[in-house]
Amino acid sequence: MVNIQERASSGFCQRPVDISASVGSVRLKNPIMPASGTFGFGVEAARLYDINRLGGAVMKGVTVQPRLGNPLPRVTDCPSGMLNAVGLENPGVDRVLRDALPALADIYDGPIVANICGFTIDEYAELAARFDESDLIAALEINVSCPNVSHGGMTFGTDARAAGDVTRAVKRAAKKPVWVKLSPNVTDVAEIARACEAEGADALTLINTLLGMRIDLRSRRPVLGNTFGGLSGPCVLPIALRMVWQAYEAVKIPIVGMGGISSARDAVEMTLAGASAVQVGTAGLVEPSALVDIADALPDIIAGMGLDSYGALVGAAHG
């Protein structure tokens, strides 16, 4: 195993680079986390790479009731990204708390983030309260941006008042840090970001996927079983950067930046736009080692910029 610090200091940089990060009170040994839904509950990823190299672990979105998800096909691609319409398939909060979360905590020693998605405000509060009781959870990520369910999910994240209502309900139900995961499928992300901050959100995570579709020429029908799906991958990076930039200008709470990050350079760019840490999703589905590769490459890039800490990059592109 390559030691990140050693590798950086043996290169052209004289001082070791500090790549630790923090999202409010949540401390991360490095800023790289998997994006919810691309990491399962960690056990699968642990067979592919050392998940303890990750700064944090974000679990798949959890609902009150178990969900089977959408009909197949659920995934397709385009030249520089993919569409998914998984539809929040998950075993439900009871089984996650009983089985998946303890199993992840057994093999992962960093902060674990629970991603929760409700179909009513009461469900969000219920899920928040359930995970808040667990000592194994470091923070709650509130998914008000899933584009692949017919109600709930994104409906709460595309309206500032609804996003604020969910945030308020979750903050009342939980003491742990609350990160609200925002949708890019909105006219003004700044307005929604401010609404969440006003209701006590501890951080914002953005962006979730962009609504899209593809059509099969032979069948002349939509490729995805759900017709629409969420677009992610390298093609959304510029949009994600723009929205993280806008959110950073609008709020004071920290931002977890995501959307199309596929390299350490992308992660640095996202940080310059205003992210205090980043999540990597789609890249890890194509290249299993992507997250670890990004964490490995980060110190040299930061050193090459003449800096000695990741934290010095946060929001540095804003004049």
């Binding site: 839904g37 197949l72 080692s289």
Partner: protein
């Protein structure tokens, strides 16, 4: 699972729109017939999954039909080119306890059954193979299965025949079936074949390694990932 760069030894047409590619590299991660590989192809964002038709200590073989961008890209590659592959994915067929297997394949669903037939042949078990194709130009692996000692029955849609039309006859004296092919064929086989058996499913996949739940199918014990718990499922398990 093993990730590596695999070198194309050959990539040639073997039937109408069907190609056979042999990729050389480590194969110790392939442990059962029915497993698959996920290939990274230039210009395509997601990897593309292909079932393994054959393997040895030096490499593996896949047969594929040109149906879209991915397979068209693969068909354009030639000797010496390298492909990034995730190899030895999925669970594979259960051979244990089967003494008289019936292999039921449709089109490019036949290749993983060839890998299975080879495993049986090594143990001295001679399968019966019931293969369905659209037309005679589409027939693949029938001769190779005969060379292994299989009794091979072929149905052609141009002759108005489907595998289900000869299912009863082919099942005689057999104790278990193994099927791979289009979903319509698999559903018909599941419904009509009296034998116990296993079916290999396919769908579009993203990661191929169990992370994204982009390939979940419905079973009687809940949603199962075709890439991880599958692609092979017991007939009784599928909620069809």
């Amino acid at each position: 699972m093993r990730q590596g760069l695999y070198v194309i030894e050959s990539n040639e047409r073997v039937a109408r729109d069907v190609f056979r590619v042999r990729l050389n590299g480590p194969t110790e991660a392939i442990t059962r017939a029915g497993q698959f590989v996920n290939l990274k192809l230039d210009g395509l964002y997601l990897r593309r999954p292909f079932s393994i038709a054959d393997w040895d200590g030096e490499g593996f073989v896949i047969l594929y039909k040109i149906v879209g961008e991915g397979t068209r890209t693969l068909a354009a590659l030639s000797w010496g080119q390298r492909l990034d592959a995730l190899v030895g994915l999925g669970n594979g067929f259960d051979e244990e306890g089967c003494r008289a297997p019936l292999l039921i394949g449709g089109g490019v669903g036949v290749p993983p059954l060839f890998a299975l037939a080879k495993r049986f042949a090594k143990r001295g078990v001679k399968p019966t193979a019931l293969l369905g194709f659209a037309a005679s130009e589409d027939v693949i692996l029938a001769d190779e299965l005969r060379e292994l000692g299989c009794e091979v029955m072929v149905t052609l849609e141009t002759e108005g025949m489907r595998v289900t039309d000869r299912l009863e006859e082919a099942s005689a004296g057999r104790d278990r079936f193994y099927a791979c092919g289009p979903e319509g064929m698999l559903r018909a086989v599941k419904r009509r074949c009296i034998l116990p058996g296993q079916l290999s499913l396919e769908t579009r996949m993203a990661c191929g390694v169990g992370l994204c739940r982009g390939c979940t199918c419905l079973t009687l014990t809940g949603g199962k990932r075709i890439c991880a718990e599958g692609p092979v499922f017991d007939k009784e398990a599928l909620a069809w």
